[in-house]
């Protein structure tokens, strides 16, 4: 494997506390090393910004609902499909890119590790086939547990150990990475056309509340000591006044402590916080409650969050929150897809246009920016667009621009049709914080890596870590003349290295690297009861056999990277 030494660049690495100093980064055998050999290839990064490869903590990039979005939105691709080009396969899709384009676009922006945020377990083979066809980036996928019949039956009786054993089985069967919860109990209720809008709404038939599901899953997660915390999309997403449900959900983590060997301190990750920080009682008095939510998170160190920034684009919403998508199609009358998955979950898909001429969309945009600007610890707040829900991930550089430049924010606020309403219903106009490059590295690298339990492997440039490096044509010593220069610089890397392989040069793909699938192999004590329960559910209620459910052979995950956990 080639050796490289990156010289003269301004390095930003929260793991080592380097804040823009000119430092050398050496690469050997796929890892960052103290010093490369004399034959190492020299990359001159003079006047450039050097960071670790970015880490995506929450995006919908592979699997059945993503592909349903592709299948049912030919208009999302019209006139924009791209040809075969050098190493690149043909590409397609704006809000829902094809797998190939997904890999290329992330790599070109300097992202090297990405998490698919919602894997319906029964469809894990599909998720992994798409992951396999997504080049370059390392990927993991979070199976969803919040509406799973086993989980609800065990936690009804507070059987944490059985829940943990079931989770361990499921992570193995699906090659999953973490415990994802979406609208706990609400999606099961949706199977009957109902919902759970608060943490105390009972789940029909199962005699359990969302609060009990959430608490129990945190306990099971920490019982196992998984690398990532329980990752939650709470009840009542997207409705005026939903912040109260969000605070009720966050409070469920009070007093809980992380238990793991990965350096993770959080027990709950609240995702796409923007969608959960709404006040008001209707769309007319809709307002931001970003302050209330971030105040709580600032005070409680066992919680991490990501933002879910609205990018003001036409996009495709998709979530395991089935009832929400049904609600949304009622609002915008656009095409509605829904898939209920036996014993496990559901998903919905609806196109959405975040128009700068609609006040609610502009307020959503503002809330998404308020959250990171109000968060005191950038190591606990990560930038996402909940791709493609609040906007496509390809807009990250634009979000960075808004966060790094008050001027860019002002320009956008002035362009809104309902500017005054945005200013009265949010405090975006009074926030003059500008996110620094170091903070950006915390919010997009070191922070999400730590929350995922990957802090020793990626998200930093410390010797011994994976050699994932992004070099941007952005000179931190020069004042930014035009905020658009920020967006431009972060859109196409000068260089991207993935596990020590140069994959991007001058914004073009030069290698498809050695993509890995990350999953968690949790060892547990033998649990005959859970084994029996699984057998029984397959015999009676699943529509496929257990043997076929568990068959996820090498051809689905050709390059696995298992993170071992021992909970015996």
């Amino acid at each position: 494997m080639s050796e490289y030494v990156i010289k003269n660049g301004h390095v930003f690495d929260p793991v080592q506390g380097i804040k823009g100093d000119k430092a050398e980064v050496a690469i050997k055998d796929g890892k960052i090393v103290e010093k490369a050999g004399s034959g190492a290839k020299v990359i001159d990064a003079k006047g450039m910004t050097v960071m670790a490869g970015a880490v995506e903590i929450h995006a919908h990039i592979a699997g059945p609902k993503v592909n349903l979005g592709r299948i049912y939105r030919p208009e999302d691709k019209l006139f924009t499909c791209t040809p075969t080009k050098g190493m690149e396969r043909m590409g397609s899709g704006n809000s829902i890119p094809s797998t190939f384009k997904t890999g290329y676009e992330y790599a070109k922006m300097g992202y090297t590790t990405c998490m698919e945020a919602a894997m319906p377990p029964m469809f894990s083979r599909h998720v992994h086939e798409e992951i396999r066809d997504t080049p370059i980036i390392d990927e993991g996928a979070f199976p969803v547990f919040g509406n799973n019949w086993f989980v609800m039956e065990y936690l009804k009786n507070h059987e944490v150990e059985n829940t943990a054993a079931y989770i361990a089985w499921m992570l193995r069967a699906t090659k999953g990475y973490a415990v994802k919860v979406v609208n706990p109990g609400g999606t099961e209720a949706w199977a009957w056309g109902l919902n759970c809008l608060t943490v105390n709404d009972p789940v029909p038939y199962f005699d359990i509340t969302p609060a009990e599901i959430v608490k129990g899953l945190i306990e099971a997660n920490e019982y196992l000591g998984l690398p990532h915390s329980m990752h939650i999309h709470p009840n009542n997403l997207g409705n005026p006044g939903c912040y109260e449900t969000t605070l009720d959900t966050l409070k469920l983590a009070e007093g809980m402590k992380a238990n793991n060997k990965f350096g993770r301190e959080s027990v709950m990750h609240l995702t796409h916080t923007q969608f959960h920080s709404y006040g008001g009682t209707n769309w007319g008095d809709f307002e931001s409650k970003a302050k209330e939510v971030t105040d709580y998170v600032n005070k409680n160190r066992n919680i991490t969050i990501d933002t879910g920034n609205v990018t003001l684009d036409e996009t495709t919403t998709m979530t395991a929150d089935g009832p929400f998508e049904h609600h949304l199609t009622g609002l915008n009358h656009l095409k509605w897809a829904n898939v209920d998955v036996e014993l496990e979950t559901a998903a919905g898909v609806v196109p959405y246009i975040y128009s700068p001429n609609i006040s609610v969309c502009a307020i959503q945009w503002a809330i998404g920016l308020e959250i990171p600007l109000m968060m005191k610890d950038p190591m606990r707040c990560y930038i996402t667009t909940d791709h493609p829900n609040a906007g496509p991930f390809t807009r990250y550089p634009r979000v960075f621009k808004w966060l790094m430049s008050t001027k860019a924010r002002e320009e956008q606020i002035n362009a809104f049709k309902h500017k005054d309403k945005v200013l009265t219903q949010t405090s975006i106009g009074s926030l003059d914080r500008e996110i620094s490059l170091y903070e950006l590295a915390q919010m997009t690298r070191a922070g999400p890596a730590k929350s995922l339990g990957l802090g020793n492997m990626c998200g930093g440039l410390k010797p011994g870590m994976d050699a994932d490096v992004a070099i941007y044509n952005f000179n931190p010593e020069k004042p930014v003349a035009n905020p658009d220069d920020i967006e431009k610089a972060f859109t196409r890397c000068a260089f991207t290295f993935k596990s020590g392989v140069e994959v991007v040069r001058n914004g073009e793909i030069v290698s498809t690297g050695h993509k890995r699938t990350l999953w968690v192999n949790a060892k547990i004590k033998d649990n005959p009861q859970v084994v029996r329960d699984i057998n029984e559910k397959f015999l009676k209620y699943y529509s496929m056999t257990q043997a076929n459910y568990e068959s996820l052979g090498h051809h689905f995950v050709p390059n696995p990277f298992a993170i071992e956990v021992d909970a015996t």
Binding site: A62, N67, K77, T84, M90, W336, V349, Y541
Partner: protein
């Protein structure tokens, strides 16, 4: 001695039953018996063992006779054809695994071809409708565990998906459906009193070609609005009654088939059926599902979508993907004379395309990759027999509800026979060389 292979997947229809058991000889060469399969599935496994099976590629000669050639020669012939053509059509894909489909897409990309699957003559219009108004659907286990209202509209599972009714839709007892079929109301809409219709609580014998009108009447009836006395041959009282039955269930599903996708109205029949389903969700929970035909037509759509962005009828000739059934769809391409080479795999357009298209195929340079002798192999210049996927080769497949299931290999193919994927790799490698691609 025999060995029993369990959890075998049936590679016939979109029901993709995965509970078959196959008894094979110890050396894994011969199938002795097939258990749990329907009569069609059983035939599929047993026919693979036919003694008169063609096992080597055959090239048609000028006089119409066939000459046996090697797989190498066949791969070379195929690659040459793909390299020379201005607009080759690569059609089929529904009776092979996703790995072969993926390899075929690489060839299509290199050759800048049109790629289409059997949805073109089956549920292509469903896909158009889904693109227009969406699709509230579910997995088949949801139907088994919850459904108390079942509608079969323009489909006849008693004939086309024989185990569907016992495994998923009418008879099984599930978590919330402990009484099986006793708690389910069955509505069948079909212009014939089919064997499925004979089991129904209500059979609406719709006038053929007027499903769109009847579906529209259902939407009107659900809203309690005015209806003409008779719609599509059905008195309005019966329509109101059926609409009430659907509304009053806890969980309902509409299964539909080629009776609506291929009749006048086409995509709009499905469009309106989906609208009915969407409307019913204002009153209760309702889903809708196409009864997909080939066992892996769904998989082909999935792979095509994640790789190119569209589920079928993809045109790559300009070097990037485009899609518009009516222009880029197989039947229109052939009818209009807009292709100059035909590559068929995992399907039989010779039997299932309108004759004007079959005649066109017979006039073009053509390759047919299929384990069987078929009308397509009979009119193609080159026939490449391959191993039976799902019997002699495994690989990823997708059930009609998009659930992925990995097919199993049960026995070895006859000595020296290649799988679809193996043959396609040979073609791809040659095409790469011809095109000067590393």
């Amino acid at each position: 001695m025999t060995k029993i292979v369990t959890d075998v997947i049936c590679p016939f229809c979109g029901t993709l039953c995965d509970d078959l058991e196959v008894a094979a000889t110890d050396d894994g060469k011969k199938i002795i018996e097939v258990y749990n399969a329907c009569v069609i599935g059983t035939e599929k496994f047993l026919h693979s063992q036919a003694s008169d099976r063609v096992t080597r590629p055959r090239l048609m000669q000028a006089d119409g006779s066939y000459k046996e050639i090697s797989y190498d020669e066949a791969a070379e012939y195929t690659a040459q054809m793909m390299a020379k053509a201005k607009k080759p059509l690569m059609y089929g894909w529904s009776s092979t695994n996703c790995e072969a489909q993926s390899m075929g897409h690489e060839i299509a990309e290199l050759a800048k071809a049109c790629v289409d699957n059997t949805a073109a003559v089956c549920h292509g219009t469903t896909l158009i409708a889904v693109q227009d108004i969406g699709l509230p659907t579910c997995t088949l286990g949801e139907v088994k565990n919850r459904a108390d209202r079942i509608v079969f509209w323009g489909c006849n599972p008693a004939h086309a998906h024989p185990r569907h009714m016992s495994r998923y839709s009418i008879f099984p007892r599930g978590f919330f459906t402990g009484k099986g079929h006793k708690n389910r109301k069955l509505v069948v809409v079909d212009p014939r009193p089919t064997d499925t219709a004979k089991m129904a609580d209500i059979h609406l014998q719709v006038t053929q070609g007027q499903d769109y009108e009847l579906l529209n009447a259902f939407r009107v009836a659900l809203k309690g609005e005015w209806l003409p006395d008779v719609v599509a041959g059905i008195p309005k009282e019966k329509i109101y009654e059926a609409a009430d039955i659907l509304k009053s269930g806890r969980f309902g599903i509409i299964f539909f088939g080629m009776g609506v996708t291929q009749s006048l109205g086409k995509n709009h029949n499905i469009d309106e059926a989906i609208a009915v389903t969407k409307d019913l969700n204002d009153y209760t929970k309702f889903s809708i599902m196409p009864m997909r035909g080939h066992y892996n037509v769904t998989g082909s759509g999935e792979v095509m979508a994640w790789q190119f962005g569209y589920p079928y009828s993809v045109d790559l000739t300009r070097g990037f993907a485009r899609y518009n059934p009516g222009d880029t769809s197989s039947i229109d391409l052939l009818s209009r004379g807009d292709v100059d080479a035909m590559f068929t795999i995992g399907s039989d357009p010779g039997a299932h395309f309108p004759f004007n298209c079959v005649k066109k195929i017979s006039e073009l340079p053509s390759v047919c990759i299929d384990p069987h002798l078929t009308p397509t192999s009979g009119v193609s210049k080159l026939h490449v027999p391959v191993a039976f996927n799902g019997v002699e080769a495994g690989g990823s497949c997708y059930r009609m509800d998009n659930v992925p299931i990995d097919c199993r290999k049960v026995v070895e193919p006859p000595e020296g026979m290649l799988t679809d994927e193996q043959f396609l790799i040979m073609v791809r490698d040659r095409l790469k060389k011809m095109k000067g691609v590393a």
